[in-house]
Symmetry: D3
Subunit: 239 residues, 6 copies
C-alpha cells in the first residue's frame, strides 16, 4: 500500500515543536505532526486539589479541547455543560501520561495546568498533544527553576506518544485523518525516554486483532517514539 | 506474595451471572466477580441516533454508574451535569467492546441500551460489567428473536473482560480493591471468544512498565478470559 | 372488584426487608412490597449542611432514584442537570418522613444519607422506600452505637408508609402499577409506630374526592401500616 | 392564643384578586392573602407536550417562582440549572390542582401556561397562587371564548386553596410567615367549589399529629375555602 | 411623523417611581416609563466577592429578568442554565451604571443587590430599570444610614438612562415597543445628574449611522435625562 | 504622557492579518494588533435558526473565546455551562457588527459561523476580533462564490473596529493591556469603510466623561479605523 504522502508504513510525519509560540504562558509550544497542530501550554497556579491539601507536594492536571474550526466540519464548543466523552477521555490520558514522569515532592503545593488546544486536526491530536505538552512542561519547569520555586528538579523522564493502526490489513505508524478514519485497529502508545510503557490503548474499530498484530504495532510505536524523543531534544537544544 | 483470599496470582475470583435478576428488562443479569456486583440490563428502544438515521440498521449504547452506597465512602450522584470523567471513560469502553461483536445490519432501526449499575464495588467493576453485559445482551436478543423483530442473529462473538495488574512487582489477575488501590500497573483487556483482542488498556499508575511485563499481563488476561467464557456459557446453558 | 393477585381491597402485598443486601453501607436493605424492590442504604459522613454548622447536632438527607431498567419503558438517567420533578418531590418526602423520628441532638455533627434506589418498579416505590429506609437507618444507628459515636439513641419512633387509592370507585390498599395507573385518587400516608401521622398526601388524579372517601382511605392506610410495622420488627428481630 | 393581627383561629386574612394587573397576558391577577402577594398570569401557546400530540385536546402547565426580593433574606434566582426542590414541588401542585377542573377536550391542541410569581411573601404563597391562578385562568378562558377558539367551556369547577397548621397546640387557618415558621404541622388543602378535595398535603414539622387533629384541620380548611370562593366570584362579578 | 400617543419626537413617556412597592426590601420601587413597568429593589448581604475580600470596602451587583408574562409572547424562564445573552448584557450594564456613582469606601464589606424584574414590557426596559434602580438604591442607603451601618454617604451622583433611536429617518426619544421594533438605530445613554456620560451604547439595527445623526441622538438623550432626574427627585421629595 | 512603546496618542499598534492560518476553515485569519493575536475563522453550515426558516435567506452568528493560556493569569474554560458574561457580550457585538454589512438575501438558507479565539491577549481583543473576522468572512465568501453557492455578492461594506480610552486624562487610541487596565473611560467603536458608525460603546470605568471628551474619542477612533481598512485591503490584495 502506498500512503498518500509517500511515507513508508513505519514513517512518522514531519515533527516540529515551536517553543515560545505565545508569550503569556511560561511554557508555550506549537506541536506539529504533519498537518496536525496543537498549542500546548504549561502554567501553574498556587494550591492543590482537596485530596492533596496539606501533604506539601504539587500536582498536575490537563485539559484538551478542539477549536471549532480545527476540523473539516465545524465542531460545537463544550459550553453547555454537556459531556464530550472523547475530550474527557483524552485529557485524562494526557494528565496521567505526564504525571508518570513527575516527582511532585520536588514542588511545593502548586498545580501545573497543561492546556492542549487543537488548532488544526489531521489525525493523532492526542499523541501530538502529549508529545508537545512534555516540551511545554520542560520550559515551565526551567522557568520555575530560574525563579527558585522548586525544591529539586521534578521531571524524571521524557515522554512521547504515537498512534499506530491497521489499515487494509497493514500496520501503519502515525496515521493521518484519511488513514485513521478507515483504520480497523486504533492504537495509542505513550512511552518514556528509556523505552518503557506509560500507556497502551488499543481498540478494535472493525474486526478484533490477534496477538501477532498487537506485537507488530507495539514494535512500530517504539520506533516512532524514538523519532519524537530526538525532535523534542532538538527543540530544547539538549544532548 | 500471598493474596488476601488465598488465590494464586493468575486465579480469577468466583464468577457468577444471575439471569432474570429484575423482571422489567428482557436482559437482566447480576454479574459478580467476587464481591463486585454489577446489575447489567439490556433493553431496546425504537429509533437510532442522528448519524445512522435512514441507514436501516441498529445501534447499541451503554451507560455505567455506581450507586452512591456501592463504595466504602459514599459516592455523590452524577446529577448536577458535572462530568465524572471516569464514568464517561468506562461507559464508552463498554459500548465499544460489545459493539465489536454485533452485526447491526441484522436489526432494524432500533437502539439497544446496556445499563451497568454497580451495586457493590470491590475492584474490577468495568470488567465485571462488560462480561455481564454480554450475557444480558444475549438474553435480550433471544427475546427479540422470539418476537421475530430481528432480521438475523446479530451477535457474532462472545466477549469477556478481565483486569490484570502488577502489585509489588508481581503480576496478578482480577484484582480486588485492596490490590487495585496499590497496583503499579493497571491493565484491562477485552477479548473475543476466539481469543482475539477488542481492547487493550494499560496504565502505569506508579512506575512505567517494560515489554516483558506487558507480555506477562497479556498472557494472564487471556487465561482469565477463558474462565469467564466458560461461566457465561454455563449461565446461558449453551454448549 | 377482584384484584389481579386475588388480594382483598385492604390487603398489603407480601412485604420483605432483606438486611445486609450489600456490604459497603452499614445499613443496606432490599425492601420489597410485592414486585416493587428498592435498595435502601444508610451511611454517614462527617459534617452538616451550612445552616446547622456549629450547633453541635446531626442531620439526615435522602436521595431517590430509579434505575433506568427498573420500569417497563427505559427511564433516562438524571445526568444532565435537568430537574426530574417527581424524584425531587419523593426524596424530599423520604427525608422529611424519617427526620420526624430522629432526635439529632443525640448525634455529633454528622450527616446521615439515605439512598433509595429502585431496582424494580411495580407501584408504591416511595412507600416501599420509606419503610425500607427505616430498617436501614436502624441498622446504621446500631452500627454507630457499637462504634460509640452516638451520644444517645436518636431514633425515637418507627416509621412506615403505604399508598392507598380509589380505583373504579372502590378504595384499595397498596396499589400495584396496574391499579395505580388507573386510580382516580392517589394517597400516600406516612405513620409512626404509635399510629400518628407524619405525612398525608392525597391527589385527585381523576375526579375530586369527598370527605367520606378520604376517611375510608385514612382507615385503610392505618391498617396497612400495622402490617409494615410487624414486618420491620420481624426483620430486625426485635419485640 | 391571640394572633398578631387579632384574627380568630379560623379567620382568613383579607383576600383580594386584582384583575388586569398587567396588560400583556389575557389573564393577569395580583392575588393577595394579607401581605402575601402573587402575580398569577394565564396565557396560551399553540401545541401540546409530546405525550399528547395528535390526541386533539389541550393541556395546562404551571410555573412558580419567588422574586429575589420577595423574602426577608434575598433569595438567589434559579438560573444555574440547580434544582430548587421546593419550587418544583409547588409548581407541580399548582398544575395538578387546576388541571383537576379542566375538561381539555373542549380545547384544541393548545397549552395554557399558569405563571405564579411571588412579589411579596408572608406565608401561604402556594395557596394564594392556586386561588389567584383560578381567577387568571377564568379570564384567559373568557378571552379565548370571545376569540372563538374553544370548542366548549372547559372550566368545570371552582378551585381554592388554604393552608392550616398547628401552632403551640392550636389549629390556625391561613398562617402568616411568623406563624408558619413555628408551626408543628403544616397542612395545605385544595378544594373544589362544591366542597370536595383535590389535594390534601399535611406534614408534621415538629411532632406527629393525631387523627382528631387532622380532622380539625380539615374542617378549618373547608370553611377557609368558602371565603376564598366568595372573593373569587366577587372579583369576577359572577353570581 | 406622528407618534402613536401624540408625543413630539423628543418627548418622554409619562414617568413614575412608586416607592415602597413591596415591603421586604428596604428599597423597592415600581418604575414606569409609559406602559413599561419594572420592579427595582435594593437589598444588601454581608460579604463581598472574592476579588475584594479583605479590602474593607463594599460592592454592588445587579440582576435583570423579565417575567414570563411581561411580553406579548410568553418568554421562557432562565432556569435551565442556558445563557440568555440579552439579559446578561443588560444586567452588566445596570451594574456598571450604578457603580459609577458609588464610593464603596464609605461601606463596610457588604454587597448591595439591585434586582430589576420586568413586570410589563413596552420598550426601554433597561433604561427604566436603571432609572428606577437609582431611586431604590437611594432608599436602601437611607435605610442603612438610619441603621448606622455606613461610614459616610456613598452615593456621589444621580443616574438616569434613556433610549433614543431613529425610526423612518427621524430621531425619537424614549421609544415604545412599536417604535423600537422598527428602529434603524438603537441608542441607550446613561448620564449623571451633572450631565456627564456613564454609558453610551448605540447599534445600527438597519443601516449604519452618520456622525450628525449620532450627535442629534446624544442631544436628545441629554434632554430626556433631565426629565428623569426631575421625576426621581420628586419621588424622593428632595430639592 | 509617553506610551510604553513610544506611540503617539492616536497611533495604532502594528496591524497584521495572516490569511490561511489554518487549513480546514475556508476563512482563517490570524489577526494581530500589537501583541494581541486572535484566530478568526469563517465557516458555514446548512440551515438557519428557527426564526428564519422558510424565508429563503442566510444568517451569521459569532462565538468568542479566550484560550486558558492567552492571559497572564490562566483563565478557566467555559465548560460548566456557567455564564461568562463578558464573552457573551463580546460575541453578540461581533455578530451584530458583521451582520450590519451582509445582505443575507444573496445567500440560501445557510448559517455562517465566525469563531474568534484569542491566542494571546494584550488589550483590544474584541476590536482585533471584529477587524480580523471581516477578512476571514471575505475569504469565506470568495470561496463560496467560487463554488457557485451564492446568489449574489452579500458583503456590502467593510468593517473595522478600534478601542480608544482616556488614561490619566488623555485620550489614547488602541490601548494595550497596561493602558486598558488603568483607563478611566473605555470606548469601542465599529465603523464601516465609508466612515459611518455600526456600534458605539463607551463606559466610564472611573469618572463620568464629558461631551468634549466623547467627541475627541470619536475622532480618534475614526482615524484608527482608516489604518485598519488599509491593512485589511493590503492583506486581501484588493484596491
Amino acid at each position: 500500500m502506498t500512503r498518500k504522502d509517500g511515507r513508508a508504513p513505519n514513517d512518522m510525519r514531519p515533527i516540529s515543536f515551536e517553543r515560545g509560540f505565545t508569550k503569556n504562558a511560561p511554557g508555550s509550544v506549537l506541536a506539529s505532526f504533519g498537518d496536525t497542530r496543537v498549542l500546548c501550554t504549561a502554567t501553574f497556579v498556587d494550591g492543590v486539589p482537596n485530596f492533596l491539601q496539606g501533604k506539601g507536594q504539587g500536582w498536575m492536571t490537563a485539559e484538551y479541547s478542539m477549536l471549532p474550526s480545527s476540523t473539516n466540519r465545524r465542531k460545537a464548543r463544550d459550553r453547555t455543560g454537556r459531556v464530550d466523552g472523547r475530550s474527557v477521555e483524552i485529557q485524562r490520558l494526557i494528565g496521567r501520561s505526564l504525571r508518570a514522569v513527575m516527582d511532585f515532592k520536588q514542588m511545593n503545593e502548586r498545580t501545573i495546568w497543561l492546556d492542549c488546544d487543537v488548532l488544526q486536526a489531521d489525525g493523532g491530536t492526542r499523541t501530538t498533544a502529549i508529545s508537545g505538552a512534555w516540551v511545554a512542561l520542560h520550559d515551565l519547569l526551567m522557568d520555575m527553576d530560574r525563579c527558585r520555586i522548586l525544591r529539586g528538579w521534578p521531571l524524571v523522564g521524557q515522554v512521547g506518544a504515537v498512534s499506530v493502526g491497521r489499515v487494509a490489513g497493514e500496520e501503519l505508524c502515525d496515521l493521518d485523518y484519511s488513514e485513521d478514519s478507515v483504520a480497523e485497529v486504533d492504537f495509542n502508545v505513550v512511552m518514556t525516554g528509556d523505552q518503557e510503557f506509560i500507556e497502551v490503548q488499543g481498540s478494535a474499530e472493525g474486526a478484533p486483532f490477534s496477538r501477532p498484530a498487537l506485537d507488530a504495532m507495539l514494535e512500530m510505536s517504539a520506533s516512532g517514539c524514538l523519532e519524537i524523543f530526538k525532535a523534542q531534544k532538538a527543540a530544547l537544544g539538549i544532548e
